[in-house]
Subunit: 353 residues, 3 copies
């Protein structure tokens, strides 16, 4: 494996005392990989959430274990840390083993095959991969990486410490913030879908003159399409995370800290509040407004404003508890229909007339 | 901003008298941008559809306003045009501000980094972007633009005045018409999904030997996949517009002037008539025929032929009015179930037996 | 057309006697194309499944016909073969007319514009297209083709005889088997969608340190995204075929010989058994297990384990026969509701109270 990955237990002990505490052991060991309880070895750091995982891990004699604090923790030769929040502990420690920055090796910061317009301004330590095209008057912030075969059109502005994976498209005049990550084959700034019928029912295009603005710490998955606004801006605000194969139409505004699972589709000019969460393949229609702190079940369909925070699901959209009740009754619809026919017969009501 | 964009009011007055008429003002002014009423400045052209927008715009003293004719129009120092159709007026004027053709700057028509097969035939004023690959016996019509990192395989034929955005894939022997526009990461001519089970239930591939034919004035969004036919042709006819993240399977024929919103999926060998319209994420099964002038609500599911023009929705698909009635009753299913149980009890019918 | 395609009837007669038998004619002829009955000519091989197709084909005097054996076959001047399985016969004969390997012409095995890391190991007869980026310590097996503008990150391993179409992304440390085919704009090894909320409800990323493993004879369509595992492996086992625009989340395991239609989405850590089949746009939630030999109707939604083989459909998911019954009754929900109201009135039950 390329790269020299390692974390020592002393560092862990000192770094996040609120989240991870040493329970027992030798705080000078170092781990060279992170592995699951069944695949770990003597150089592994292992996270365990259940007693069975803990016991399995201990049989492998790993470098050390980070255990949920609720488990029954033994004092053995294996060094054990405890935490009240395993995913949070993972988010703190996994970065030490993330080879993302060296997934594609190159010797120069700007690969000699890249096509960088002379008017583009690259801050210090920008990496540009092979066959990337960087347009006129583009600016790219410090430490940002542009992957192989990316196309960055004219006047795009990208902040510091962002990672644009290979083959991403960023259309003219888009703005991308700091600490963003965009995965391959995502399109930022394709045209919005705007047409008007002429008198012969032919579709005339309304050119899309606006742009896309993406805040800080936004992550966007693979094969996502975010359309430029008609005149103004399609906006994804800071902290929002978007999974693979999503579609954000022109003029939409998605506020901060959203968490949007794969296959989400939102039509034009819709506004979505802060901390929006949705399961997979939800759809939101155009020109609606969704309040802050709304959570949708997977496959929800939103066709009206959502004015109150809360959890919702289904189509038509209902508060989540009603949605679940409706789903539970829905599967009985065939027998309900039969029963109603029976009752009508018993009552001598001819088919409900 | 790159490029010198401008339109003067005299030009507007003369060009589309059926659609846009001068109401009051100085028809010699020029606008340098198009903006929304809240963001406009003294160099802006502003479109307004409501009285509130008009009043807001006038406070900014824009270069001129194009207003819906139904509004109460004042005679002020601001030049005002009126129209009976705002989107149509937009489709006429926005092109003057569309910088699409210069979204990526390059000095030569064919970028020196492009890989163009010597047998390819490029008409006059074809632009080929950096790192584009153009195969053998490809022909590309006058004024057509092929963006950076596009891959155009052997024997593809593309018409005049088409815009193939960066990173598009056009597979061997596809034909694309005139005045088409295809957005990044779209795939034209991937293999159809054709397999047969052998006696061991293994999937054997049926190679896909056909191609894709796309008419004139077709627009295709980002991350769309259109599969080549098994033997013949998958066809998208002239004037049809397809939004992002759609899938058109092998052997399908979509007739003229369709308007297909994002997330549409159609399975193999289906035929769709003229002026088809659908909301987002509709699905059409294989081997069905849809008549001309059919409109589908978003998330519709079509599993049978649609023989009559009209609007439809839901799954099972129903005429739109029935669909809306069913949706309205569906949310009451849980209480209906309870009522039926109550009635059965009152009538001493044991659970409907 | 580029390439010299041909098959002679003697070869057909000898090669697959279990599947294709000569019925009547001259087994020394050769066909130069495969066409449908309506488009065939004197050099065509034609497959026919119905009597009408057969009769139509015979009027065109094709080189020869492969007919389903159940048809009423004449003894004419046209050579006729018979088969009990037309799709199987197609899968055997179509490869002779598949020009896939020459869809993009290049003279050298490794195109001089490609960027291949010196530590990459290419077996004999590997083809690398223009502008492909091949990372450090990549290994590529014999006869495998890497298309134009592909990005293959460090330490990827690809087997023999695989076809990676242009513009595919294969992320660091992925493994791809032998005889695989991956279509354009597909992403293998994007990050899984893993976050944890901090105490301020901000989303913290859990870096995704695992990889993707793909078996032999797997085919993956266009614009698919398959995420790398959090720590271990996302796995697509041998023989599985995945259509366009699908999403496979981190840690999923899809067993052998699946057949997955377009728009399929599966959330994290789900396990799917052998010979899984689904219609278009089905969704499976995270952390469920699906047994071997499960078939889903299109647009199914799976939210729980499926423990028994069989066909299922709908949301909530039901055995297929129940699903179809429910669908049939669902469209009557509005009239059922009215009938229940009528009955309550007749029985003097105030609204079911």
């Amino acid at each position: 494996m390329i790269g020299n990955l390692m974390i020592d237990s002393k560092y862990i002990e000192k770094s996040w005392p609120e989240t991870i505490q040493l329970w027992h052991g030798h705080p000078t060991l170092a781990a060279k990989n992170i592995m699951t309880p069944d695949q770990c070895n003597s150089e592994s750091l292992v996270f365990v959430s259940t007693q069975a995982q803990l016991e399995l891990a201990l049989t492998k004699n790993p470098a050390f274990v980070i255990s949920h604090q609720s488990l029954n923790l033994p004092k053995t030769s294996v060094t054990i840390f405890k935490t009240s929040n395993i995913p949070l502990a993972m988010s703190l420690i996994f970065p030490f083993f993330d080879q993302k920055m060296i997934r594609f090796s190159q010797e120069q910061n700007v690969h000699p095959s890249a096509c960088v317009h002379p008017s583009a301004i690259l801050a210090s330590d920008v990496t540009i991969g092979p066959f990337a095209s960087i347009g006129a008057q583009v600016t790219i912030g410090a430490n940002t990486i542009i992957g192989a075969s990316c196309v960055i059109e004219n006047e795009v502005c990208i902040g510091d410490n962002s990672l644009i994976h290979p083959q991403v498209f960023i259309g003219a005049r888009s703005m991308i913030g700091h600490h963003c990550e965009i995965h391959p084959h995502t399109v930022i700034g394709s045209d919005g879908f705007g047409y008007v019928k002429d008198k012969n029912k032919k579709n005339l295009k309304i050119p899309q003159l606006g742009r896309v603005i993406i805040g800080d710490s936004v992550e966007i998955g693979a094969n996502v399409a975010i359309d430029r606004a008609t005149l103004t801006e399609t906006v994804i605000k800071s902290g929002t995370k978007i999974d693979n194969l999503c579609h954000i139409a022109h003029n939409c505004i998605i506020d901060e800290d959203g968490l949007i699972a794969a296959g989400f589709l939102v039509a034009g000019s819709t506004q979505i509040g802060k901390r929006f969460m949705t399961g997979g393949n939800s759809v939101v229609t155009d020109h609606v407004a969704i309040s802050d702190d709304v959570t949708l079940a997977g496959r929800s369909t939103v066709t009206n404003d959502i004015k109150l925070p809360g959890a919702y699901g289904g189509y038509p959209l209902l508060p989540i508890r009603e949605h679940l009740k409706v789903l539970a009754s829905y599967v009985h619809i065939s027998e309900i229909r039969k029963k109603v026919a029976l009752i009508l017969k018993k009552l001598n009501l001819t088919n409900g007339e």
